[in-house]
């Protein structure tokens, strides 16, 4: 019950903040035409800064290597003779949202919990291929943060940014640790994406939407390379209302799902993704 309340309050805060920013933007627009009001720099992170990072994080050129993964699409096509992308897309979105989106949302709401969320997600991804895909992209995103984004971050987000510093120190220590026990952190994509989006000033809603849209973009790009359809059809699909609706409904469905309740809503997806290793010829790593 308290968790529910907390989430509601956090939603409210996010809404109020976006209204505040809007109002400030309107004020500064007035200020430009009215020299009597002195110009004050926008509080950080300024709307333009968060928009800038929104565009960077949603860019398909973001070098996290998502082009290498098809999230089960290739295996699905090999298992089903009359496979169509149209049949796969809603299943994949539903499955990815129910298993991973709650971790993205939780990390955005509480970046300090990053390490614990990462460990819990690692316990919940029960498939070698899916785990490999998630960890490869998560580590790449962490590198982008450390080598590229970190230096631009404004002092106001410094405490949250420390979380990422501690996280990567822990990750380095754990990866050198020998022994059979599971490492304390693995760097899965979902929680890292949520935490980084929070630090660069994206709202919760934006973060969820960009995360799901990036998944759709990766799937569609994989479908083009697997010769299921051409690039124009791909853009048509991406622009379609159907894709927008699908993203919105799954985000809404998982908005209040706690990470303890996150789970697989399309169990055959685990079978397809898990059996990707059995494909005789492969284009993708998942």
């Amino acid at each position: 019950m308290t968790a529910q309340n907390e989430i509601q309050i956090q939603d409210e805060i996010a809404q109020l903040e976006s209204r505040l920013q809007e109002a400030k933007a309107r004020l500064s627009a007035l200020g430009a035409s009215n020299p009597a009001i002195p110009f004050r720099p926008a509080p950080s992170p300024s709307p333009s800064s968060s928009t800038h990072f929104l565009l960077l994080l949603s860019d398909s050129a973001l070098p996290i290597g998502s082009f290498a993964f098809s999230s089960g699409l290739e295996s699905f096509a090999a298992h089903n003779a009359r496979a169509s992308f149209g049949a796969f897309l809603p299943l994949s979105l539903s499955s990815y949202a129910s298993t991973t989106l709650p971790f993205v949302l939780a990390a955005h709401r509480q970046p300090a919990d990053l390490a614990s969320l990462d460990d819990q997600l690692d316990a919940a991804v029960i498939c070698t291929v899916g785990r490999r895909a998630s960890v490869a992209q998560g580590r790449a995103l962490l590198s982008i943060w450390e080598r590229s984004f970190k230096t631009t971050i404004l002092p106001s987000s410094a405490t949250d940014a420390l979380v990422l510093k501690d996280f990567s120190t822990l990750l380095r220590r754990e990866s050198t640790k020998a022994g059979g026990e599971a490492p304390l952190v693995s760097a899965h994509l979902g929680p890292l994406f949520g935490a980084i989006c929070a630090i660069v000033g994206l709202t919760l809603r934006q973060t969820a939407y960009v995360f799901m849209l990036s998944h759709v973009k990766a799937l569609i790009s994989a479908a083009v390379r697997a010769n299921m359809f051409g690039p124009y059809q791909a853009q048509k699909l991406l622009a379609s209302e159907n894709v927008q609706d699908l993203i919105n409904v799954v985000v809404e469905r998982e908005w209040h799902t706690s990470v303890e309740e996150a789970g697989q809503s399309v169990p055959v997806m685990d079978l397809w993704v898990g059996r990707h290793e059995l494909l005789y010829s492969r284009i993708f790593n998942s």
Binding site: S75, A78, H79, N80, P90, L91, L93, S94, S98, D119, Q120, D122, A123, A124, V125, I126, C127, T128, R131, G180, E181, A182, L246, V249, V250, E252, R253, E260, E261, A262, G263, Q264, S265, V266, P267, V268, D270, L271, G274, R275, L278, L279, Y280, S281
Partner: protein
């Protein structure tokens, strides 16, 4: 006058099983208690018995809407327990989504102890609402074999994933080698099937199941399960590549298969059966556990597949006794 006896704290559906190593060797039941609608039966132990055996039953063979079962189990150091059922656990319909039929299982397995839980599948009827939470706390050298499976419903009545909601969560926690260490979550396997969940993406639950009639998850951990875990990993690696072609002539294939060792003949028969009966499976090594997921086009094919695998490898029957496998016998 107030009763001199302590107030009973047990509630409907509560149950408790405690297993301990007997002084003369072998595992014995220290406690077995239950309340309606749960029923626990243990056949009187025999000398040859390798593990304590308990049947998990419910009155009438099923749970009606709103029933709750809450079973706590402790397997003490060095002892072993097998849990089985008698027939599918039927889940009857609920009048609404709010009335949840639930089963909760909380298990503590101590050092060198082992639990084998191979029940019949859960069979949720049309309009049922079911939630199952099974939490296993394992000491460092404890062993667990857990099968959790669910069917599409009553096929004879045309039910095909027609329930309102089915949620099944399995958690494996470990205490680690150091007693001061905090317990740690190793595995959280969670399946959420509901019409409310598939409707938003414009599909019925049945449409998301890809013609699978039964779905199962097998979780293996600990020294006792190492051989069976390795067996599943090896057999998964040995599956034929999808999309590969056999360029040998039919005669050559037949001749070669006659010359194969017995085990490889068995494997090739099994793989043929998997193909014919629509059995899809995968195995993965995750955080010190082996997790097998499988689905089959018919309930019998699923049962027969898992039964064949467990029986062929043989280490579960050898450790727990043949009774442990009675629900998965093909």
């Amino acid at each position: 006058m107030t009763s001199p006896f302590p107030k009973s704290t047990s509630r409907p559906g509560d149950g408790r099983i405690v297993v301990r190593l007997l002084p003369a060797g072998g595992s014995g039941l220290e406690t077995i208690s239950y309340q309606y609608p749960l029923k626990l039966i243990s056949p009187s132990p025999t000398v040859a018995q390798k593990s304590a055996l308990v049947f998990l039953l419910s009155y009438g063979g099923g749970l009606v809407g709103g029933d709750g079962v809450n079973l706590t189990i402790r397997v003490h150091k060095g002892s072993s327990l097998s849990l089985v059922t008698q027939g599918h656990t039927k889940i009857f319909k609920s009048p609404s989504l709010e009335i949840v039929t639930s089963q909760k299982l909380q298990v503590q397995i101590d050092e060198d102890a082992a639990l084998c839980l191979l029940p019949d599948p859960v069979q949720p009827f049309e309009d049922s609402v079911y939630e199952q939470v099974q939490v296993f706390n394992l000491a460092n050298r404890a062993s667990l074999c857990l099968l959790d499976w669910v069917t599409q419903g009553r096929i004879a009545r045309g039910e095909n994933w027609s329930f309102r909601s089915w949620k099944g969560r399995n958690e494996v926690w470990t205490q680690g080698s150091d007693p001061a260490q905090k317990e740690r979550l190793l595995i959280r396997d969670n399946i959420i099937l509901s019409h409310g969940g598939s409707q938003p993406i414009g599909l019925s639950l049945k449409d998301t199941m890809n013609k699978v009639s039964i779905l199962g998850t097998l979780i293996l951990r600990g020294p006792v399960m190492a051989p069976i875990g390795d067996f599943f990993m090896r057999e998964f690696a040995a599956l034929p590549r999808i999309g590969s072609r056999d360029f040998r002539s039919k005669e050559d294939q037949e001749r070669d298969s006659k010359e194969m060792p017995e085990f490889e003949q068995w494997r090739s028969r099994r793989i043929d059966m998997e193909r014919q009966q629509g059995v899809l499976w995968s195995a993965a090594q995750v955080r010190g556990c082996v997790i097998v997921k499988f689905g089959a086009a018919s309930v019998e094919a699923g049962r027969s597949w898992i039964g064949t695998m467990l029986a062929r490898e043989g280490s579960i029957a050898a450790y727990f006794g043949h009774s442990a496998l009675m629900c998965v016998e093909p």
